[in-house]
Symmetry: C2
Subunit: 232 residues, 2 copies
């Protein structure tokens, strides 16, 4: 019970907040990286993030959102804490802690904004192996992807990769790209119905064929979790 610590006697470890922002574009899962301007790993690609500003941010969620806005000019539709990563080796300057969020945005909400920001780029998650990435960010992206994949098996979070109004086929495609395997269209429709968080709309056409029903999230509903995973 040696609680006689003097706070200032300790090197308070540096805390950063980073975000793994995903989208589904060109039939692939993409992650947004920014080219680092400053020294540790300057010039390399890394996760958008930075330090908490206690005058601007009421909590770390807002830090994540603010940094995404600053560095990429994007506002994700879904944001959730992944976990903190810490060690002596992950930063050449010594012990460091990064609190990592993962986030989703629709591909349509991306194209216009991202072009105005140099040094921010979408990378195919599969191409990351051959890329020099700063810190342990490659590992972190992999962890975030695993979490997203798990979540996609028991929830409808992938809708946040789609526009407000979407078809069953679009949702099916996005889920399949995220989890990396095909799913049953019928199962998806059953979940859309049973979850009761979506509502139907007017129809719209697609690639020659029957018009498809448009759905959108009801207002002020929570994404529900299902009792079972999809075909894992």
């Amino acid at each position: 019970m040696t609680d006689s610590y003097d706070i200032n006697a300790f090197k308070n470890p540096l805390l950063t907040v980073d975000s793994v922002l995903f989208t589904v574009k060109d039939h692939a899962l993409k992650v947004l990286l920014v080219k680092r301007a400053k020294d540790p790993f300057a010039g390399r690609w890394g996760l958008p993030g930075g330090f908490v500003d206690v005058d601007l941010d009421n909590n770390t969620d807002l830090t994540a959102l603010r940094k995404l806005k600053e560095k990429t000019n994007l506002a994700p539709r879904y944001l959730e804490q992944l976990q903190a990563f810490s060690s002596h080796n992950r930063d050449p300057r010594g012990f460091s802690v990064t609190l990592v969020y993962y986030a989703l945005i629709a591909a349509q909400d991306v194209s216009s904004h991202i072009d105005t920001v140099e040094n921010a780029q979408w990378f195919d998650i599969a191409d990351l192996d051959n890329l020099a990435v700063a810190f342990d960010h490659k590992f972190i992206v992999e962890q975030a992807r695993t979490r997203l994949q798990q979540k996609a098996l028991y929830s409808m979070v992938p809708v946040y990769c789609l526009p407000e109004y979407f078809t069953v086929s679009q949702l099916k495609t996005v889920i399949e790209i995220i989890i990396g395997k095909s799913i049953q269209r019928k199962s998806l429709i059953r979940r859309i119905d049973s979850s009761k968080i979506f509502q139907k709309s007017a129809e719209k056409e697609k690639l020659g064929g029957r018009l498809s029903q448009l759905y959108c999230l009801k207002a002020d509903v929570e994404i529900v979790n299902f009792e079972r995973n999809l075909s894992s």
Copy 2:
């Protein structure tokens, strides 16, 4: 892209690491709290935790373990990151971040050690409402409990509340106490068998009746996640 921050120009927010240590004792889910010696909320009960010591801790997991050892003399059998909590209001001194872990320990591993530590006490999770708890630690405990409950529905983590060798009935009881409802013995046995992470042993007697099979975790196995939740 204003990445021209001077690190030292910012008040780097204080980072603490706290742990919600659970056990199942006296047929109830208990959480360990320590009486705070220092000023913010001095005298109140709070989660065991403290500051990272970059000279001692190679990562925050080790900070959590070290602080548990220092403050309660306990070494949990299971430790996992819950999430970080941050805001301006949670600490009267201003903006603060706490990285919270939740942990499990067997009741048998507790009684002897805990007695040697004054100012550490197990509280029934249901009695916390009527207790003056420091910071937002009551809320945090509630979040940790929810996470543990969810986990108990699709994994065998509750075994870490039991001694190395345990019976099906013991595991059933512990799970039921954690999730707050009764489960089917048959379902539990099916999971024990299908998970293949447990092995049988010799038998032992209990309250007058047939001797019950003892199980223990196989060496170097990971706790598996099941595809479905129990009777939720």
